[in-house]
């Protein structure tokens, strides 16, 4: 008997000692990210979903703070030369890769050369074309060593630009500006993105990735700001079905989701309160008009068509208040710009607008005995369809006979890209960087990839060229405003709505700030149960 009791006591003691001190609770963040990344190679990337993940894994020269303001990242300070063409970045001394290697200027030189290498097949190489010789290197006309980047020493990186580019620092926040770890790329080739091979310099490292299921990121102890990072583990889920994501959010399985089902906006506003967020987003929803096809080649016709569209109705009734009526092509609130060129008829009553529009059409030779026939193309989606139907309805008083044609996204954009036959086509554009040039450049006459409208206006091109060469930000803004005014007069694209970003944010998630770029790096957040 005595022996058994002693034995039980000993076992109990060992158990208690082995358990150790109570472990600090691990902070785990379950994050819905809408879609799987197409790739984790920052040089091949193109979508926002990848950007969110890469922003947690890597740190660039500059980063966004929670309010989407530019703050130092790996670069602790920088200087711009007097001619505005050369940036000199001073890198921080304590920046490290997750395997302990220091992050030095040579890593950035390697990375920037790699994205410009034709063999890499970079989808967004053009974001960094402002770097001297970048375009030629990417076309294979020059060697990568001709690229305007140089490491003066381990902690000093020099980047030379083609022309002074005031928004260059914003460009560096794009995921294409993130560095890769050169030894990993050299050793593993394209496989460097796999968990176990990947070496990153951001707040997190990639621990596991099951395509279509989830991605697990864990805290990077070598990160220079690791002490300030609260969340230990973040799971990224590809939540393609927005309604299913909403159910998972309600069940408490997701702390946040990057989108919400637009059809349930009214319900979410009523029942979720502050957990459902709508924030302004730098993007424009518009109808591209084929200006090379009569009668749409007549600017009076385009103006008439634009005037009678009740954008407030579209924003409130069709999009449930998740979009904002757009009367300029550049959304308000953008950096390096003042008030955009607002259409003069925004404050006119609808009846007056209709009268003026009918008068314009009559002048252009159209009326009830000579009706305008227009086909509206859009890519398959309930809201695009409803928007097109509403607009067709609004054009009826003008005597326009509108027909609708929908196709899947790939076909829709193929027609636009390949200069196919279309009248009016729905399109959308989310800014890559916070500058009006990223909107206005689309209709420059030599911009083959984006100029769906086939718009060619030498005055417009001249203004854009002058703005590109102007170093004084205020004068530049004036030139861009002149260009936008021409745009709003000619309407190669008819702007309809400014985008809003939708998010589901749990009460337990701290540090999520709504911002115009919709960037929310995990390092700034915490979970409070």
């Amino acid at each position: 008997m005595r022996l058994r009791r002693a034995w039980a006591f000993t076992v109990g003691l060992i158990a208690i000692l082995a358990a150790g001190p109570p472990a600090a609770a691990e902070m785990i963040y379950h994050r819905g990210n809408n879609a799987d990344p197409e790739t984790l190679d920052q040089h091949k990337t193109s979508t926002v979903y990848e950007a969110n993940i890469l922003r947690d894994l890597y740190e660039g020269l500059v980063v966004y703070d929670p309010a989407a303001k530019l703050v130092p990242g790996v670069a602790e300070s920088w200087e711009l030369s007097d001619d505005g063409r050369t940036y000199s970045f001073r890198l921080r001394a304590d920046a490290k890769w997750s395997n302990g290697d220091p992050v030095n200027a040579g890593d950035f030189v390697y990375s920037l050369r790699r994205i410009m290498m034709p063999e890499t097949g970079a989808k967004y190489a053009n974001v960094l074309y402002p770097i001297a010789n970048a375009e030629k290197v990417h076309a294979g006309e020059l060697a990568t060593t001709d690229l305007g980047v140089a490491a003066l020493d381990d902690r000093t990186l020099e980047i030379t630009l083609e022309v002074p580019t005031p928004f260059f620092l914003e460009l560096l926040t794009h995921q294409t500006g993130l560095p890769v770890h050169p030894p990993s790329v050299e050793t593993h080739g394209p496989e460097f993105v796999r968990p176990g091979n990947m070496v990153s310099n951001g707040a997190y490292v990639l621990e596991a990735f099951v395509p279509n299921a989830q991605m697990k990121l864990t805290k990077n102890p070598e990160f220079h700001d690791a002490a300030a990072v609260s969340i230990d583990t973040v799971y990224y889920y590809p939540t393609e079905d927005r309604s299913a994501a909403l159910r998972r959010f309600q069940a408490g399985e997701l702390h946040s989701n990057n989108d919400a089902p637009v059809e349930q906006v009214a319900w979410m506003k009523k029942n979720l309160g502050d957990r459902f967020r709508v924030a302004p987003y730098l993007g424009i929803y518009y109808y591209a008009v084929n200006t090379s096809k009569p009668p749409l080649s007549d600017p009076r016709v385009r103006l008439a068509l634009s005037m009678v569209i009740d954008r407030e109705f579209l924003a409130e009734e069709i999009w449930g208040g998740t979009m904002v009526a757009g009367y300029s092509f550049v959304p308000p609130g953008i950096a390096n710009y003042g008030e955009p060129a607002i259409a003069s008829y925004r404050d006119m009553g609808m009846i007056d607008r209709e009268e003026a529009a009918v008068a314009l059409l009559v002048e252009a030779g159209f009326g009830p005995d000579n009706p305008l026939e227009i086909e509206i193309r859009y890519n398959t989606s309930e809201n695009h369809k409803n928007t097109a139907l509403a607009i067709a309805n609004m054009w009826q008083p003008l005597g326009v006979e509108a027909s609708l044609l929908n196709s899947d996204t790939a076909t829709h954009y193929a027609v636009l890209r390949d200069k196919g036959d279309y009248d009016v086509a729905r399109a959308g554009w989310i800014a890559d960087y916070n500058d009006p040039q990223n909107f206005l450049f689309m209709v420059e006459s030599d911009n083959d990839g984006f100029n769906y409208a086939n718009y060619a206006n030498p005055d417009y091109d001249a203004l854009m060229d002058r703005a590109a060469a102007e170093t004084d930000l205020e004068k530049r803004a004036e030139l861009l405003l002149e260009a936008e005014t021409i745009f709003m007069r000619d309407l190669p694209f008819i702007p309809l709505l400014y985008y809003g970003s939708l998010s589901l944010v749990s009460d337990k998630l701290e540090g999520w700030q709504d911002n115009i770029q919709n960037v929310h790096a995990t390092r700034w957040m915490a979970i409070r149960e």
Binding site: D36, T39, D41, K44, P118, G121, N212, R248, A251
Partner: protein
Amino acid sequence: MLSYALRRLIGAIPTLFIIVTVAFFLIRVAPGGPFHLERPLDPQVMENLLRVYHLDKPLWQQFLLYLGNLLRGDFGPSFVYRDFSVGDLLGSGLPVSMQLGGAALLLAFILGTTLGSLAARHQKRPGDYGVMAAAMIGITIPNFVMAPVLTLLFALTLDWLPAGGWGEGALANKLLPIFTLALPQIAVIARLTRGSMIEVLRSNHVRTARAYGLPGHVVVIGHALRGALLPVVSYLGPAAAALITGSVVIETIFGIPGVGRYFVQGALNRDYTLVMGTVVMIATFVVLFNLIVDLIYALLDPRVRYDK
């Protein structure tokens, strides 16, 4: 029977070749390409990408390249999921879809045949009507309605099961998808079983068994079921192929990492190699399952003979 099976398998090879060829050229008829998506690409970037993926070569050259790789078991890289080859994607997704599909098939078979047999035995009585009404509901309500309803009930209201996600393969995450997948199949199998069972119950050998005084359930299970299962087995061949290669709707709603979504996503993204991979995969499964169905026929019905 073995030689029969071998002959069938070898005969499937030309079929597969024709399917691969037709699919290869057909997907390229659709306008657009893998790089024509919502964000327009800079023309230089596009030109470069086409070159990297050999999409700038003449079509017949691309076809021969693809065939050569296919014969070596290489399905090619995915044009859209650029870190993975098609083999990787299908290889990681297929086991998941097979787990769900296989379990759903089993559940549907067991429940369906049981319910159908019960309905047949109690023909024209309340039990029969009840089962058939439930079956009608199961067939008509689409799974994209069933899935959210079941999620609302079991996950949000009762909080018994997770609302979605794969959860690294936990059982709780599989229950709702399996059940939602199985429901319409249970309904169809129940109706099929009931119909053929009623017929079989009238046949001579069953009447003989009854005349011997065998109890009801022995008659049904031991004597009638084999014959009644023939139409069910015919139905199950293609149904099994479809179930096991994943349901797009279920996998999207529940966030399951199966291969189902690749069918739709591949086509919409014009991810040529992924589409080809899924086509080859499902064609193989259909051929295989049709063969298995025919072999099971021979097992169930001794009158069927394949060897001349």
